[in-house]
Symmetry: C2
Subunit: 434 residues, 2 copies
């Protein structure tokens, strides 16, 4: 059997992040101030973010150096493996070559620490004492909790109620790393109190939890700032370490993808893998199909409109031009909590608008079916979010079989499902719906 | 910062297992038949195990080839990383160099697949259709479930009641891999019914679950055989891939241990890491301190007697000479379910008897304290079993600090605690006792 895992040594760790913004053919529409509706300035973001991150958000540099202290943390698990899914290929009887980039090896079990670590680092460097944030499935919250623990920051997490109830062990993980966790909507903020007044049984949403975390930072008297796990340009940029590694690993495999696939909630997982391949295209290499996969029940890219909208529910964040279902959209309580977001990263939205990526929406049951098939073949139980990419990778491989042609498929296995086993129990019990 | 993770490519995977039996200075006392009390023969074991495994159990060869089909599965996650615990060293302000061999990267999250995979493979090759087994914390059960899924075997797991109740998601993992799971004691076997009659609220024990799994295999009409996750010579041998890799990785680190530490329930985790170092000693290299760590509440090596005893509660297995608390010992329901075993592997017991290893018993609370300290420093939440090794590694490092001398400490981080978060919640809530 040919090689299974393509590994790089920590000396091969990329030392810069890739900023796609200067390469975007039509640029990126500016963020607008929520009060004035004028383009926001770096100064407008100072109450929320440290200087270094604001500079990154507005940067027009193509390559941004990764600080040594961040690389030292990345080394704990990076470079992550690129795995050839030999057994899945065999189970599918497909001539396709399937690779997955496995981010579940990180301490928090997903790609999220790739941005949590630099965000915590830059905040610490600028004297911030505490970070507030929201979390959906808990992947982001546990990543930020870990990063804060590494750099000696306090961490307050607003966790979407439905996940808080479904995933007590995700909460336990955050607490093990030293964070405080509150169910959202909570009585601690104005936004939370308003939501509870409107619906005391609210299961919450990412948009609302963002409102609460932002409000908590703004009301901290300057001691706390806010951290966001997706959507922002800087977050997508931090995640490009994933795709950069994958490119080097595919060189080891002497292969190159025809199609690159990632699940997209806020968009950073998809973008982290896809953007470095897009860069090659900008530099004159042949195009690769890039497929962003979202849940059919929260289809911002495939069904949303491309317009200015708030990032949160209460309208406290800047307005960004993005594919959105409306900031008051309430997604159903599906198990892929990390994909329950009304909007999409401006960068991913801009790429979709000029047809540089494909979007596909897939229903929940078909995703779990793919997740179980993957687990039995490859031994890794995917996070519910990641099963969306697995589903489309399998569909593409089955198309190859039907057409009798080989293709190289690379997808992001963004996290493991060790804290999502209730979802699998529900799936086996026939209690999930589309 | 110097290197953090010492990685080997899959081409560096060891291709043989190390069998310590021919190297034991005083040999190994024979197993005795439970009926006749005469030394058992290979034929006596045929109802339970396939030929190839029986040959391995009795083998006097020093090196046994690993089949290619097994190596192909190992490649999914092996070689596992050896990690320099830079951040833990810093947190402890110790001059010691601490390394851990991390087996949590396996699909089931522990070292157990190292033997589950060859056991499933050899059974399949000899036409067995189904494997029965017991599991404590669930690490072994999920490993065998996975291995059976890879090789197309049915899998029936008897799970110790206390873990079945504490760890529903471990059960979900086994079911995701396709296994059937029954709480032990169960009404399905004579041994289980007897235990339930004696105590309807029995929380079970590994010894009893073994009785049930053995009985189910013996009553299968020849279609099923039994698989054991520890204790046997062949199991310890399969685990030596861990220590062999660690030796090669320490060469990369240009270092060599003064002390090697592993948690010991049945003994295979400890032995898997330690035996290849002992081999070096047999071959004339300087001795390394080998420390087997067990829970204070189930102290077979430190408090048990070295005598012939049954491996199970009901007295169905062969008698082996080992350190034992008595086959009717009922360990308290501590969270390190994988260490709740009344006996100890004959090989480990024989080494203890001639002072080739040290044994240490540590209480539960001190272990969780060490586990949390490790998690906050290194980002990995250890399985409760593994916290026993973490505890002693930290103690050794603190001794180095007190004495102002450096030492090289290598320990086995045998698994992650992703399915054990209830234990951490209980610990934080002050609900655990020693």
């Amino acid at each position: 059997m040919s090689v299974t895992r393509f590994l790089l040594s920590e000396n091969d760790l990329p030392t810069t992040w890739y900023n796609v913004v200067p390469d975007l053919p039509k640029g990126l529409p500016p963020m607008l101030h929520p009060g004035t509706r004028e383009p926001i300035t770096p100064a407008d973001l100072e109450p929320l973010f440290p200087q270094a991150l604001i500079e990154q958000e507005f940067s027009t540099e193509r390559d941004i150096d990764i600080p040594g202290a961040v690389l030292d943390v990345y080394r704990q698990w990076r470079p992550s493996p690129l795995v050839r899914a030999h057994r899945l290929e065999k189970a599918l009887q497909t001539p396709a070559r399937i690779y997955f980039k496995y981010e579940g090896v990180s301490p928090a079990g997903s790609h999220k620490p790739n941005t949590a670590v630099p965000q915590a680092y830059y905040n610490k460097r600028e004297g911030v004492q505490k970070l507030t944030t929201e979390t959906g499935a808990g992947q982001w919250g546990s990543s930020l909790a870990l990063a804060c623990s590494y750099f000696g920051l306090e961490c307050a997490v607003y966790m979407v109620r439905v996940s808080y109830d479904q995933k007590p062990y995700r909460r336990a993980l955050m607490e093990t790393f030293g964070a405080g966790v509150t169910a959202s909507p909570s009585p601690l903020t104005e936004a939370g109190r308003a939501a509870l007044a409107a619906d005391p049984n609210s299961t919450g949403s990412l948009g609302l939890a963002i409102s609460e975390a932002v409000e908590a930072a703004l009301n901290s008297g300057g001691t706390a700032k806010y951290a966001l796990g997706s959507v922002l340009n800087l977050v997508l940029m931090h995640q490009t370490i994933v795709g950069q590694e994958a490119l080097r690993q595919l060189e080891l495999a002497d292969d190159y993808p025809d199609v690159v696939i990632g699940a997209a909630g806020g968009g950073s997982n998809f973008a982290g893998l896809a953007l470095p391949f897009l860069r090659r295209q900008f530099d004159g290499e042949p195009a690769v199909r890039l497929i962003a996969v979202e849940p059919a029940s929260c289809p911002s890219l495939t069904q949303g409109t491309y317009e200015y909208d708030f990032g949160d529910t209460a309208g406290m964040t800047p307005l960004t031009k993005m594919h959105t279902l409306g900031h008051d959209f309430r997604p159903p309580a599906i198990h892929a909590g990390g994909l329950r977001y009304h909007g999409m990263a401006p960068i991913v939205s801009a790429l979709k608008d000029i047809d540089l990526l494909e979007a596909r929406a897939v229903p929940q049951l078909a995703c779990f079916e793919a997740g179980v098939q993957f687990a039995r073949a490859e031994g890794i139980v995917p996070a519910p979010e990641s099963t969306h990419a697995v589903r489309v990778a399998i569909d593409e491989a089955l198309e190859c079989r039907a057409a009798g042609r080989s293709r190289t498929i690379v997808f992001s296995l963004s996290g493991h499902g060790h804290f999502d086993m209730q979802a699998y129990l529900d799936y086996f019990a026939g209690e999930l719906t589309d």
